[in-house]
């Protein structure tokens, strides 16, 4: 029961996060509901994999991004938008931002540390966080773009038959 409540919370807050971050990139309001839907699916799936199945963040993020990419393809003609315009913002709640800036913080601490032991500790933190961030982002990008290239015809003709009349 507790897990179910946590999943519902995850769905709700990741949808809000996707809508907010999509607005920064001037995503039209008509596409935001798809951002929210995809983010809710992807983030909650990653949450379940990491919390209940103890899957590593790299694998979990890649699988979740792949699911987002696959679901975005049939939605694109419906939304009359290229799939990346709502699947990329839906990925934003899963971008490992904390790892990214902790890597840079590690670098700052490396440079300001005195002694080999402290330096090596912060060097380790920089590398660990930096590598995790890069590999998570790479896995997510592979996951979300693979369906776009597999279903090229649908992905690149989603805005077909759309007129301003």
């Amino acid at each position: 029961m507790e897990l179910l409540i946590e999943i519902i919370q995850d769905i709700f807050f990741s949808a809000i996060a996707a809508i907010g971050f999509a607005s920064i990139s001037n995503t039209p309001f008509s596409a935001m509901k798809y951002c929210a839907f995809l983010a809710a699916i992807g983030h909650s799936l990653r949450f379940v994999m990491m919390e209940s199945m103890e899957v590593h963040i790299i694998v979990a993020a890649a699988i979740a991004a792949f699911v987002i990419g696959v679901v975005a393809i049939p939605l694109a003609p419906k939304a009359k938008c290229p799939p990346e315009t709502f699947s990329y913002p839906a990925l934003l709640p899963m971008i490992p931002g904390m790892y990214a800036y902790r890597a840079v913080q590690g670098l700052v601490m490396c440079l300001s540390s005195s002694g080999e032991e402290a330096f090596m500790h912060y060097f380790y933190l920089m590398n660990y966080n930096g590598l995790t961030c890069i590999i998570v982002v790479a896995g997510m990008v592979i996951g979300v773009t693979m369906p776009i290239f597999v279903f090229k015809r649908i992905a690149f003709s989603a805005t077909q038959n759309v007129t301003n009349d």
């Binding site: 971050f21 999509a22 009359k80 990329y88 709640p93 971008i95 592979i142 805005t159 007129t163």
Partner: protein, 260 residues
């Protein structure tokens, strides 16, 4: 058509295509989409196109069907911030050109209309972004007091970013200043003992500044063999992440916080 007419036709087509491609590049479209859209329009206009996509320029060479005449020009990206609304409208325009057989002049008018479309209301974006970052804090396990702190920190930090961007201040300086302000406000959980998860409030208060779309676009360009644009977008994203961290470290230093 005589040579003069062919030249005029190639010139107007090339100018339109270079402007169209630079608009797509400037709004953060992936290189593969720019190639697809340009190819589609070129087929309709009955010309061949060779295009070079560089991080700061687009070079377009337009040939007639017989490959006997050509015209080329380069253009700088129009815009510079990710704009999915413009991306969608430009993609729709490419299909309208095909379906309605629009002439180059008609397409150019449409392009200008798209480039003048308004952005989302800045106050709505400010509220949505603040709510998004506050939700992020909750997703990381922050309590509701921490969520409130992150909402306020984002509200102030993002408002500062909007003001500085309107004043055309460099994006890197803007990011440092926004991160600094957001982290100082985000540290209030520690300072006043408001929340049980003050470290999450501080950690997530600057996440709205992470350049997520450039990171994803860099990966996408990498897989479609556009290495120059991929590396350029990745470096741009890394520089903004470094600026964000500098602002955060400055804020933490001011508030006498430990980094790890």
């Amino acid at each position: 058509m005589d040579d003069g007419e062919i030249h005029d036709y190639l010139k107007s087509t090339c100018l339109f295509l270079s402007k169209y491609a630079s608009a797509l590049l400037g709004c953060g479209a992936t290189c593969i989409r720019i190639e697809k859209n340009i190819g589609r329009i070129a087929d309709t206009f009955g010309v061949h196109v060779d295009m070079t996509l560089l991080p700061a320029h687009v070079i377009v060479v337009v040939w007639d069907c017989d490959h006997t005449h050509s015209y080329n020009c380069s253009a700088k990206p129009i815009g510079g911030m990710t704009d999915f609304c413009r991306n969608i409208e430009l993609s729709k325009l490419s299909w309208r050109i095909v379906e309605k057989n629009l002439s180059c002049d008609e397409a150019a008018i449409e392009l200008d209309r798209i480039l003048s479309l308004p952005q989302l209301n800045k106050w709505i974006v400010l509220l949505l972004t603040s709510a998004a970052n506050a939700s992020f804090c909750r997703l990381f396990g922050g309590d509701f007091k921490a969520v409130g702190i992150v909402f306020c920190a984002t509200l102030l930090g993002f408002f500062l970013k909007q003001i500085m961007i309107e004043d055309k201040i460099d994006l890197r300086i803007t990011t440092i200043a926004s991160a600094f302000l957001a982290s100082v406000v985000g540290a209030s959980g520690y300072l006043f003992g408001i929340s049980n998860t003050p470290e999450l409030a501080l950690g997530t208060s600057v996440l709205f500044l992470i350049p997520g779309i450039p990171y994803i676009n860099a990966g996408s360009d990498l897989f479609t063999n556009h290495y120059l644009c991929a590396v350029s977008r990745f470096i741009q994203a890394v520089i903004l992440t470094i600026c964000l961290t500098l602002g955060l470290c400055g804020g933490m230093f001011l508030m006498q916080m430990k980094f790890f």
